[in-house]
Amino acid sequence: MAEVKGRSLFDDAVARLLSNRAAVASMIFLAVMTAVCFIGPSFTGHPFDKVYPDYVKVGPSFEARPGLGEVEEAAGRIARRFRAKVEHFEMKAGEVEVALSSTQTIDPRIADYFNRADGFQNFRIAPSESAPKALKLVGEVKRLHFWFGTDGNGRDLLTRVLIGGRISILIGILATGVALLIGVSWGATAGFLGGRVDMVMMRIVDILYALPFIFFVILLVVFFGRNFVLMFVAVGAIEWLDMARIVRGQTLVIKQQEFVQAAEALGVGTAALIRRHIVPNTLGPVVVYVTLLVPKVILLESFLSFLGLGVQEPMTSWGVLISEGANNNRDLAYLLIFPALFLTSTLFALNFLGDGLRDALDPKDR
């Protein structure tokens, strides 16, 4: 007997999803974004909380800092102290070569002075013919790249944006997970058991829904302080309400379907009914809602951070960064634009993915 593999509805859905270019692009984008935010900070060359007092509010640039001119100027200043003049200055990939000349002997301790200056290191006197009135010094300059510039405290923005991404994405996933867990159990139980249990459970949902959520979250913050873990519990605890409603609605619909009644006629028990028939058929709308919930959660966290209720310094999230950027609007637009770009592009991708999933799982042309 030849083995025939059927084509489940899941396979159909996956095929439909993969043929949706926007959704596939979004998935790739999200994978890349997550990888960058989690692995990236190790590669930027800056810890996220390191303060560079020399580089406060520095704009974004491709060029490393300090720039050529600044280094040359610094060299010139030190030279003048020793009554020397810079004849020739060359800087290549962090290696500096300075040729000094003077009317008198140049104190060889000039090398130490160079080394003591911020960013200069390893300066030594190179052998040269015209010593001691003309010296050649070689050394290194520590050059830093601030691709996105620095913030008001002199911290590298790129690293902070990536770290912020970690927090935002983490909260997005974790809080959604919490909402999923609570919402699905609550909704499925209420929907399946029906009757008075259902009524009571949904009344509770209604009342919680009526509480102005800002107030509720503020209360949580007030009670527990600005704790990162509690932040995502708070966010998850608000979002599970919608999830419970959706799951309950779906459960009610599925309960009426004839294939559930057929299973009951076979004598299948309640647990097996829920496991085998109800839950797999609720997954569709739940999955779609989850992908639309993650951006909502990230947004919520950003919103709270914007109000100053979110993650605490020096840890940061996209919301905190945007808040700082919004406050510095006048002169430092880049402080706002970079985190905003990251946040909105991630949210866009999540929304497109959610739309794609919805079309894949519930095609309208059927």
Binding site: D206, I207, A210, L211, P212, I214, F215, I218, L219, V222, F223, P295, L299, S302, F303, F306, L307, L309, G319, I322, S323, G325, A326, N329, R330, A333, L336, A340, L343, T344, L347, F348, N351, F352
Partner: protein
């Protein structure tokens, strides 16, 4: 109609009551009190203050007094803004929030429904994608990004509009905040209208109208009437949200509305102010949901049968 309204009100009251009660006890149970932030007060004055504000009574007694005052419409004095009662604070700030909210709602409705209709009628064509792209942006980009961005472009960049401040409600100052408020709602309404109209145009009774040879515009109008029902349902919570002021928008643009009292009140443990805002929001939500229900039942005769 009257009995319908009364029934709705009656079922809403218990909810408000529970919300108010829960909020009352929650805020008072939070650590910290309304006078903690003050620089040192003489302990005797502190005792007197507590007596004046009835904070020295047992909790359930405070609750009872609160309810009694509420029945007279007295929400008590603000602890934080010491020279004002809560009611006075609202009287000044609520109209501001409501004006902005109403303007934003009107803008969102007009633009949202038009855009959604156009997108539905030209489904899958260029303009549909364009409208949906903008709508997705409106839903995705948070208002605390949009606000500063708009300020950046129109105020700081082009200098067409002031960068912030209320200026007693001068028109140029209203434009950016209202747009920022309206954008997300506009986006949702556009998406909702589009999906709903596409669905409605496929309905059997619209096929009947086509079979009767009615001109395209008539058919579309009929479909639109049915398609707007879900939009009407959505308006209830949306209106309540808009009217009670947006914390974010008011902060960004420096608008003296009601929104900021939520955050500031809770953070400074201003009990009366917080209770006032909770009651305010609950009442607004109930009120607008009721209006929406009534409008819906006027539009859809099947619902009136209850």
């Amino acid at each position: 109609m009257i009995s319908f309204t009364l029934r709705r009100l009656l079922s809403a009251l218990p909810t408000i009551f529970i919300v108010v009660t829960v909020s009352f006890f929650l805020i008072r149970l939070a650590p910290g009190g309304p006078f903690d932030g003050e620089s040192h007060i003489d302990p005797r004055i502190l005792v007197n203050l507590k007596r004046i504000y009835q904070l020295d009574q047992p909790l359930w007694m405070q609750y009872w007094l609160f309810l009694k005052n509420l029945a007279h419409g007295d929400m008590g004095p603000s602890f934080f803004f010491k020279d004002f009662t809560v009611a006075q604070l609202f009287a000044v700030s609520l109209p501001v929030s409501m004006q902005n909210g109403a303007a934003a709602l009107a803008l969102a409705l007009v633009c949202g429904i038009s855009l959604g209709t156009v997108a539905a009628l030209r489904q899958n064509h260029g303009i549909d994608h364009a409208v949906m792209g903008v709508a997705t942006a409106g839903v995705t980009i948070p208002n605390f990004v949009v606000g500063p961005l708009l300020t950046l472009i129109f105020a700081l960049g082009l200098s067409w509009l002031p960068a912030g401040g209320w200026n007693n409600g001068a028109l140029p100052n209203r434009i950016l905040p209202v747009i920022t408020l309206a954008l997300p709602q506009m986006a949702v309404i556009a998406r909702l209208t589009r999906a709903s109209l596409i669905e409605a145009l496929r309905a059997n009774h619209i096929r009947t109208l086509r079979a009767l040879g009615l001109p395209g515009r008539t058919v579309t109008l009929h479909a639109l009437r049915g398609a707007l029902l879900p939009v009407v349902s959505y308006l209830g919570p949306a209106a309540a949200n808009l009217m009670t002021g947006s914390v974010v928008v008011e902060r960004i643009f420096g608008i003296p509305g009601v929104g900021r009292y939520f955050v500031e009140g809770a953070l400074s443990r201003d009990y009366t102010l917080v209770m006032g805002t909770v009651i305010l929001i609950s009442v607004f939500v109930i009120f607008f949901n009721l209006i929406v229900d009534i409008v819906y039942s006027l539009l859809d005769p099947r619902v009136r049968m209850e």
